[in-house]
Amino acid sequence: MREKIKKSVRRMREKMRKRRLVVALGLAIFASLVLTAVSLTIYKVGDYYRYDLSRPGYESERSNVVSTTTTITYDTSSAFSKEDIDSSISEFDGHTQNISKYNTFGDSSLSDEDLQLTTTTSQ
């Protein structure tokens, strides 16, 4: 019995040696499938998909997302002047104005009036 197992293991090894490229490709495909499965599970279980606007059906919403073009690097070491702080304040004001522009949570979208759940009784 042991001999049989040893023989079959030897045969397998020989076959694998002969087809190294095929085995390597197979392993690579298997590894990528495992990694994809893990990442999709995290995406699904972690509810990340719900906040993903790149999903199908969100085409019109995607166009309303403001894209940030460049990553700004800030000077953190050189000496301050009034003008430096002035430009920082201007940039800061721009950001806070954008926040006010983007915020829709203060509107009345869920009110009875907007959802047309009001009963107008005419006397």
């Binding site: 719900r50 906040y51 969100y58 997302v65 403001v66 800030y74 009034k82 002035d86 915020n103």
Partner: protein, 174 residues
């Protein structure tokens, strides 16, 4: 005997007259939910998508602000000014943004739950969840207000610092 009948009649009359009109209004609202169920679903799905765009844009802007104030606070320290108030506000800002994110997740969970309810067969469940969703949406807006309040305090600190810093023309190095 007659007196007890009169008493029962009186109680009944009081109940009918004083019964809250909201009970009738609630019934009418339930009827409206059933009648407009599909339209309500469409409106809620559109609102959820709109709010998701808003959340995405605001999240990016909050990250931009975080980068700016982190760099500014560090620069204040590197210029040997007292940056404690900036640091405190920066910490408060990060905490408030995290609270905004958490509030949005709760609201989004609730609106998804609301969309999933079959409003034709369960209109009262729908109305209950709608009330909860309204409260959670208001909570998200409250968090936005908190963040804005911290940011305006940070701006005040920037202005105060500006008053203590020399102008470029008066010998301040760049």
């Amino acid at each position: 005997m007659k007196l007890s009948n009169f008493f029962v009649f009186l109680c009944g009359l009081v109940l009918v007259v004083c019964s809250p009109s909201s009970v009738f209004a609630q019934d009418a609202k339930t009827d409206l939910v059933v009648a407009q169920c599909s339209q309500l679903h469409t409106n809620l799905k559109e609102l959820e998508a709109r709010d998701l765009v808003s959340r995405t844009n605001m999240g990016r802007e909050y990250e931009n602000i975080d980068k700016q104030i982190s760099a500014f606070t560090e620069r204040v320290q590197n210029n040997n000014y007292n940056n404690q108030s900036f640091l405190d506000l920066q910490t408060q800002y990060k905490s408030a943004v995290n609270q905004f994110r958490a509030a949005y997740v709760q609201y989004d969970d609730s609106i998804n739950e609301l969309i999933a309810i079959d409003c034709q067969s369960k209109p009262s469940d729908f109305l209950t969840t709608l009330d909860k969703t309204k409260t959670l949406r208001t909570a998200v807006n409250d968090k936005v207000t908190s963040v804005s309040s911290i940011l305006s305090q940070y701006r005040e600190q920037m202005v105060q610092l500006q008053n203590n810093v020399p102008s470029q023309n008066s010998g301040g190095s760049q």
